[in-house]
């Protein structure tokens, strides 16, 4: 009895656990540990129209129960994704979420158009990358632009479009509502919180980019809160992430309102984290007599 399969925007996932974009590459590096078919899906590294080299290193700094990164969307570009990564991924028996980012609305639209007819299962439109100068966070912190870019991608796509929101805003609910109104099929949250670390011996920021995105267990309470707020404000499904590292965390964020769960930085600590979470959810359902994990989505009862 498969208690873990979930339908998310019309796409069937065998389980709700998906490695988060940018933390798992295209899965190649983890295949020697376990088959990718154990995963509900993979949200691939953020893809841009053209190849990008990303920001200079150091691109990572450790923080209490978390980390900062400033990769800056290094990737081979959408053509390489389509010609090299996708053909490999489609053989892995798992869902493929193409995470895309553009510096202009037109670029986002073009990216979506390029993915038309391809074998990807969904698009995740990243309007919240804190590590790039144009697009990125600028899109994700303005309701109007967030709506416009969503619409542009929807208009050029034949796949369900999930929009990935930034937590660095006064009201994530307003942004969520705007992308919903502009056709988003789902939202995913949270991307990283903007942070900084300084090496006190050198008086220099640890990251060459000065600032970077905070992720890992440290941000989990913020993620749970935002997922809860957004799930209660929109009528499209929510994909939750931000600090999830155990099956208990997955249950918690699902109770808050997430139908699908992405696992990111936790993988660096334990590459088996996603499959351990899948196994934990399976056992949780069995122990509690839950027929399908979707039953717990959004069930938190506020006081």
């Amino acid at each position: 009895m498969n208690r873990l399969n979930v339908n998310f925007c019309g796409v069937d996932f065998k389980n709700p656990i998906v490695p988060a974009s940018g933390t798992y590459g295209y899965g190649r590096e983890y295949e020697c540990l376990y088959p990718l078919s154990k995963l509900g899906g993979i949200s691939v590294k953020g893809t841009t129209l053209h190849r990008r080299e990303g920001n200079p290193a150091p691109r990572v700094a450790e923080t209490p129960s978390g980390m900062l990164n400033s990769v800056g969307l290094q990737n081979g570009g959408v053509d390489k994704f389509l010609s090299y990564e996708l053909p490999n991924l489609v053989t892995k028996d798992t869902r493929i979420i193409a995470n895309i980012a553009g510096s202009t609305i037109e670029e986002c639209a073009e990216l979506a158009a390029k993915l038309k007819g391809s074998d990807i299962d969904m698009i995740e439109l990243n309007i919240s990358c804190p590590n790039v100068k144009q697009g990125g966070a600028a899109f994700g912190t303005d309701c109007t632009i967030a709506g416009q870019v969503t619409k542009a991608v929807k208009d050029n796509s034949d796949k369900p479009v999930m929009v990935k929101l930034s937590p660095n805003v006064t009201s994530i609910v307003d942004i969520a509502k705007s992308v919903e109104a502009n056709g988003a099929d789902a939202v995913s949250l949270i991307n990283t919180l903007l942070g900084m670390r300084i090496d006190i011996n050198t008086g220099r920021p640890i990251l060459k980019n000065n600032v970077g995105g905070l992720s890992g267990p440290a941000v989990f309470p913020v993620a749970v809160r935002m997922v809860w707020q957004v799930a209660n404000a929109v009528n499209i499904p929510v994909c939750g992430m931000g600090g999830v590292s155990t099956w208990e965390d997955a249950v918690e964020i699902m109770m808050a309102g997430a139908s699908l769960v992405q696992v990111g930085a936790a993988i660096f600590n334990d590459p088996f984290a996603p499959v351990k979470i899948v196994d934990g959810l399976q056992k949780f359902c069995e122990d509690k007599g839950i027929n399908n994990i979707s039953e717990i989505v959004g069930t938190v009862k506020p006081w």
């Binding site: 798992y24 590096e29 150091p58 691109r59 700094a61 990164n69 990769v71 290094q74």
Partner: protein, 256 residues
């Protein structure tokens, strides 16, 4: 690409110098796969990110690897608390190791905590290898007996001359090249040292491999945080230390 993740037993622990520890880990599956120059991602309890530590030496018969590390901060301080009999959580072997060319001559240059990764590769070249090691002073000298036991000729340098010759490894390297030109130079240590060595190798038309460091997260090539500037086909790109390295052909590396 093939590596393992697991908790493995520490079968011995030694203090090599003040704040420098040598632990031997029983991990037959890792030892089987490991090559000189690769590294391990080591979990330090209470810390979110793993610490990259080079595989200093591999004993495929005993099924062990050696990790030699120095206390540099809070994470390595925590690792130093681990004792014989306890488990250590590692992901290994990772990255690309050094080239081993049967019957060819190598000079292995290590500076400070860059010396440990030289042990395995020097052993592989055995009598065909010369190990040039540089340290701050006598108290910091480590691993010289390991080279000798493998029949490797050793040249020891210290900054203050308190042990071996006084001065930089690069001076010793130039002299050694003049004396007996090797087929390859392999090196690990501070970036300035590596750059100098790369220049020397280039000037002398000798192949040269350097082992680089960069802050890491995944350690396996998935997260792209460990970028380093390299040149491929005449174009500068960002390669990744954990997957494309840590060992690079020195001609590929853009030294800042």
């Amino acid at each position: 690409m093939m590596y393992k993740q697991g908790k493995y037993q520490i079968v011995s622990k030694k203090t090599l110098a003040k704040g420098i520890f040598d632990i031997e880990v029983l991990c037959p599956d890792v030892a089987e796969l490991a090559e000189a120059g690769q590294f391990a991602q080591v979990a330090a309890e209470g810390f979110f990110l793993r610490r990259p530590i080079s595989i200093c030496d591999i004993d495929k018969d005993k099924g062990t690897i050696r990790l030699v590390f120095e206390i540099r901060g809070k994470g390595t301080e925590k690792l130093a608390e681990l004792n014989k009999g306890q488990l250590i959580d590692i992901i290994a072997p990772l990255g690309k190791g050094f080239k081993v060319m049967e019957g060819k001559k190598a000079i292995c240059v290590g500076g400070g905590i860059g010396v440990p990764p030289m042990v395995g590769i020097a052993k592989a070249y055995g009598k065909n290898a010369v190990a040039i090691s540089g340290f701050r002073n006598m108290a910091a000298v480590i691993l010289q007996e390991d080279f000798k036991a493998a029949g490797v000729e050793t040249i020891l340098c210290t900054d203050d001359g308190s042990a071996g010759r006084k001065g930089f490894v690069t001076d010793a390297l130039e002299e050694q090249i003049a004396k007996d030109k090797p087929d390859i130079i392999v090196a690990c240590g501070p970036m300035v040292m590596l750059k100098r060595i790369a220049d020397i190798a280039e000037k002398n038309g000798i192949e040269c491999q350097v082992s680089l460091e960069q802050r890491m997260a995944c350690g396996v090539g998935a997260c792209l945080v460990c970028a380093c500037r390299t040149v491929k086909d005449g174009k500068e790109i960002h390669s990744h230390v954990c997957k494309d390295g840590p060992v690079f052909d020195s001609k590929e590396v853009v030294f800042e």
